[in-house]
């Protein structure tokens, strides 16, 4: 097998298409959010208008996504790790890059831990966490050794399975859906809706991957479209989730549950079909989604280190596995896991909400200076 060409050089064969970019963004966004978003948002909003909050959160994510695309488009064929040093100088650039690598590492650890929590809770009670996390990480390592192209391709396989099974499961739960649970719309005005925006916007973390994979795109000028569609798809899935969960369990019912979406699926049975319960299907889909999110984190962090140190990427891929594992083991219990998630979210807000805008402005000013100097 000749799978060992150095990947830090972006050669012409290692390119991804626009649909592939879209699907990478979508898969990266979909993750823990499907299971926890209804509760997290309900805690903040406290009215049935959560779905409006989700839409607003999505729109914010789109704006941030477009800013990041604009920034990356200034530096064709180069990733954030490479061009950030050009904008703000060597040391600041390196600092930002390390922050970003740290972010991907923490997020990956968070994903691995959530997977272990849910799997241990629903499928493998009593199985040690390392036994769940380790084979998962090996699968990720095996995949990303092939570079960005196999990653994009496997996402393309997982994506339709996710959508089909998710929609199937979601519409099965229509049986216990109560429209009254969603009323009144804007009963307490717009304020509660705005309160939850930060939470829902954080469910859309994922477009930041555009800072890196834009460099791999065959048609980087279509990146804007890719990121918009890439956010719209999870937006739909989130809205459907929130509407279904709130509609079935009501706001009060949602707040008290750890994994409200799973509880929804577990709370009804359909007789007459082969399966009466569909949580196994949802779990299968969800494990695959966690896999996609984790592999992206793993790849993004390895790519960052290999580009910063200008070394072959493969040793970093192996070397990061124990780090991911250690990070995933830091939280002591499920509440700590969610705290870690919140922390990562806050970092993401600064790192990808404000920083790209700042960098974009600096690079524009610098660019103009450069032009006038000519």
């Amino acid at each position: 097998m000749k799978g060992s060409e150095p990947l830090e050089m972006i050669n012409s064969k290692d390119r991804i298409t626009t649909p592939q970019t879209t699907i990478v963004v979508t898969n990266f966004i979909l993750g823990t959010g499907i299971l926890t978003l209804p509760r997290a948002a309900a805690e903040k909003v406290k009215t049935p208008d959560i779905w409006l909050t989700v839409i607003l959160g999505g729109i914010i994510a789109m704006i941030a996504g477009v800013i990041m695309v604009k920034l990356s488009q200034q530096f064709p064929e180069r990733t954030f790790y490479q061009y950030s040093q050009e904008i703000v100088g060597k040391w600041m650039g390196k600092l930002f890059s390390f922050l970003m690598i740290g972010y991907f590492l923490t997020l990956g650890g968070f994903h691995a831990r959530s997977l272990a929590e849910v799997t241990g809770y629903l499928l493998l009670e009593g199985t040690p966490k390392w036994a769940i996390i380790m084979p998962f990480m090996w699968a990720s390592l095996y995949l990303i050794r092939g570079g960005i192209n196999p990653i994009a391709r496997i996402f393309e396989i997982i994506f339709p399975i996710t959508v089909i099974l998710f929609l199937l499961v979601a519409f099965m739960s229509i049986k216990i859906f109560e429209v009254d649970n969603l009323r009144p719309v804007l009963g307490s005005g717009i304020t509660p809706v705005l309160k939850g925006i930060k939470t829902t916007a954080l469910a859309f973390t994922g477009p930041e991957i555009m800072l890196l994979i834009l460099a791999f795109m065959k048609e980087p000028n279509k990146a804007g479209k890719a990121v918009l569609v890439g956010i719209t798809i999870p937006l739909f899935i989130y809205v459907i989730t929130v509407v279904m969960v709130i509609g079935a369990l009501s706001v009060d019912g949602v707040v008290t549950r750890t994994w409200p979406t799973l509880d929804l699926i577990r709370s009804f049975e359909l007789t007459g079909l082969i399966f009466e319960r569909f949580d196994s299907l949802l779990l299968v889909v969800w494990i695959m989604q966690m896999f996609t999110s984790f592999t992206i984190n793993h790849y993004a962090a390895s790519l960052g280190l290999s580009q910063l140190f200008q070394k072959d990427i493969h040793p970093f891929m192996y070397g990061l596995l124990p780090i991911f594992y250690l990070i995933s083991m830091i939280p002591k219990n499920i509440n700590d896991v969610f705290k870690l998630g919140d922390m990562v979210g806050n970092v993401a807000l600064v790192l990808f909400g404000f920083l790209p805008l700042l960098l974009l402005i600096i690079s524009k000013i610098k660019g103009r200076k450069y032009e006038t100097n000519l």
């Binding site: 499928l123 391709r153 494990i287």
Partner: protein, 525 residues
Amino acid sequence: MKMKKWKSKIRKIGKPTDENENKQESASQASTNQFTDDFTLNLEVVRKELGHNWDVHFRDFIIGRTGIEACIVFVEGLSDKDLIDKHIMTSLMADFSAEYQQEEPYVKESLSNQFIKNQVLSISDVEEVHSIKELASKVLTGSTALLIDGLSHAFILGTTKLKTRTIEEPVSEALVRGPRVGFTESLSDNTSLLRGSGDIENLSLVKFQVGKRSKKDLVVAYINEIVDPELVKEVEKRIKKIDLDNVPESGYVEQLIEDNYLSPFPQVQNTERPDRVIAALMEGRVAILLDGTPFALIAPVTFSMMLQSPEDYYERWIPGTFIRFLRYIAVVLSLFTPAVYIAFISFHPGLIPTKLAISIIGTRSGVPFPALIEALFMEVAIEILREAGLRLPKPIGPAMGIVGGLIIGEAAVQAGIVSPILVIVVALTAISSFAIPQYSVGITLRILRFVAMLCAAILGLYGVVLFFLFMMSHLVKLKSFGVPYMSPAVPYRLSEWKDLMVRMPLMMMKRRPKMMHTKDPLRKG
């Protein structure tokens, strides 16, 4: 004339000791060297080279009333004796032209080379060789050598007659509808089947030789106007790298030219059907035919090709599509059913419908083994039965499968070793794996099924999902001659999904697969 004969006797008998010694010396030298003017010496050398073989025959004779000696050498069984008798012996002995009857023996070029070739030998394939080695290799492949006194070279006459079987329906790829023609062991028959199936413009059949000791012909077939020249170069490069004593079957070639020898998935397709080869060539692929085997190779392949049968195209598109869907379902069933059974029974009985769970657990109550052992027992039994059924004589084989399967299944349930549900599961997987048109892919799925079962036994449903992710990771990384194995499914090429899981009407499939980088992208015009 008498004078000449006497002379010849002197040459033969006179000074026997010296002559023999000289001859032996020169013979050993000449065996690698060229033929000389000396007929007896030449013959001596040839006898030394080939005479020890039981099946090599030497026939000395005098050319029609001239007194010139000649000899033919041929291999019994490989050469066509009819042809030798009627067109070589008769024309040289009985019908020999009267003009040349007064020719004198032992004189150099007494019989004109051109005359023999152009007026005497009524045979289509005549060439001249000058060295013993050349002569030996030709004679041993069925040609007849003719040595004539006075000529410093030998004629090689194409009298090869290989014993071939008649063209039959391929056993490994039976179809309900479609040509009942399969390749045979003869390379020339096989290439003629390709040429004969319609007047294909630009069909190139390029010959190579493989095997260092047993040299075999290998033909690379492609359509010049369609195929990507880079692909042909790559295939030829890999074939030239084959370095073996003997290449008995195209399976050897397949294993030596494939991309990843660690992969359980076949990266070259083998087929016995000329129509399948032609269809592949038309898509811009390359076929490899080897002498001595009815199995041709097609490269590059994709995973979807392994689940397609030529019949999909011969039937109308609706049944074709339906049958393709069935095959994809069969793949999923044959890979995952026992694994899912194990996962649900031993890890998550709560995830299956309550009534079903109760009935399964009820039937399993007497089973003393964990689900993995139970399932492994039945799966291994059925694999052994299948293998045994293959080896048995044809009339007994299927009976053995049915009887063995029924009896073992029934008895195992009665004895309380396995549950009846498991017998259904195992039967379902076995039948599903038969529904896959390519035998080699069927084997792959059978192997992977056991891996999936182990994963399920260790980590339950989570293990099955991980197994799926590992397998998919492998598949998306795999390539066959530069073509991604999972294309055109991923990366998405919507226009080519018309021929992936569905088989759209023929008039909608106007383009050749893009991944083949064909010179002529359109199927029409």
